[in-house]
Point group: C2
Chain length 281, copies 2
């Protein structure tokens, strides 16, 4: 997805939020916003939003000296999500279509996203999404391609959310490689966060090599790009990965809640909608 002009005010909102988590020094945060302002002329609207996100959070680190402002929030989100783990597994086991329920749960976990929303109630969100209609639901194709594949590439999004991903991974019944970010960026899932969520018990954890809050291939490691190109079945979670991957020519299933109207418009759904969308299927 390209950068829409509406993304620009949002870049400043994100910088402000991260700046405030990283430091109490208002002048440093002002400086951060100024530098994001200077940066605008170098941001092409043809670039993907995560590419700009990478630059913004680099500035956050550089100006505030804080390399992981979301550390405590991520730990707390994962801890909270883990307390729901047994309950979520039970929901899957008791449902008529365990795989679809697990997909819904994985999407519900996507609400743990401080890049977009600061406040959420994860239990309420889960219940809502379990009964919500999909705006796009390529479930039949998802099942059919899943049957044919020998392994799954699962691109994670946020910490905390990865506990919900674990529920879906367990239900896929295929060897899964779970992709994390190379460094802490917003509340996105890193290797450490995935370990805390217990992903190592159900999948191989691997970094995409990206320092951006979304998977844009040109910014990923050669190893990941090779893995991506040879993958037969790819699940991409969340908005940041959609932004980075939506124009790829590869078959990808996007699982997300459209939390921002710009992304919702790009997908062709409404804000708040849940989506299981396959591209090149």
């Amino acid at each position: 997805m390209r950068t829409y002009l509406d993304c620009i005010p949002c870049f400043f909102k994100q910088a402000l939020r991260a700046g405030r988590l990283a430091t109490d020094d208002e002048m440093k945060i002002k400086k951060l916003l100024e530098e994001v302002g200077e940066m605008l002329k170098d941001i092409s609207i043809e670039s993907t939003p995560p590419e700009t996100g990478e630059l913004i959070y680099e500035k956050v680190r550089e100006i505030t000296g804080n390399v992981d402002p979301y550390l405590e929030i991520k730990r707390e989100n994962t801890r909270k999500a883990l307390t729901l783990y047994n309950l979520l597994r039970e929901k899957v086991e008791k449902s008529n279509d365990g795989l679809l329920t697990a997909i819904r749960i994985a999407i519900a976990g996507n609400v743990m996203d401080f890049g977009v929303n600061e406040n959420f109630d994860i239990e309420q969100e889960t219940d809502e999404i379990l009964s919500k209609d999909f705006a796009i639901c390529d479930y039949d194709k998802f099942k059919s391609y899943l049957d044919e594949t020998d392994k799954v590439l699962y691109i994670g999004d946020n910490a905390g959310e990865s506990v919900f991903d674990r529920i879906l991974i367990e239900r896929l019944n295929k060897p899964v490689t779970y992709i994390v970010r190379e460094i802490p960026i917003i509340n996105d899932v890193t290797y450490k966060d995935a370990l805390q969520a217990g992903i190592d018990k159900v999948a191989t954890i691997f970094s995409s090599g990206t320092r951006a809050p979304g998977t844009f291939l040109k910014k990923c490691s050669r190893e990941f790009i090779e893995m991506f190109n040879s993958a037969k079945f790819i699940i991409s979670k969340g908005q940041g990965n959609y932004e980075g991957l939506s124009n790829e020519k590869h078959r990808i299933f996007f699982l997300l809640k459209a939390k921002c109207y710009v992304i919702a418009n790009d997908i062709g759904v409404s804000e708040g909608d849940i989506v299981l969308k396959g591209i090149n299927v």
Copy 2:
């Protein structure tokens, strides 16, 4: 009111909105946002938001060549408000406390503000505000100072809203000078807009000389500053005027709906609250 860091993302939202009304040329709007970005380093957090607003809308004019992007919206808002005029007068006449009802109506008109919200339903808003509790209500002081004064300085805010102001002006029973902006800025009321609303029938219309979307004295004409300094009774409508005047040492009654959480916090109320707040009273 000073500029809070939260105002910065909002400056970009406002620039984007005005830019889109002014032109269809996405590259010009991008250029506008870039120039607002460059501007940030020169914006002191000690300045008032309307001072920055002035610079932003100067850029809108300069880059798009459109000196009044909100012209049609203002005309339409005023036209729509005028269709409610008789109904609103009737509400005042039928109420137990006509002055307080007229104050509420004047606040309801304040929802016609494209600087903050794009969408509103003015009839529904009026009904809600007629029955809403004030978060701050210095009505007794308002009445008592009004009784003592021989004339009223009434600082208008938005076009369309001025029809609602007219209802209150008629109820004040004092000679009123109605203050408008010097040039078109957002949807703020100018001389022409006030004429369309029929303000000339109930008050003397006078420009503050400001080119900003709010009354900040240092940016006003000498004539207006003299008028302001000698005024015994001042009504200031809306957020922009509050932002510019809230630190003055003069007695002022602010009538507004707190449509933005930053201003609400500054006043000490919640977003959405309605306020009749006197300072230096």
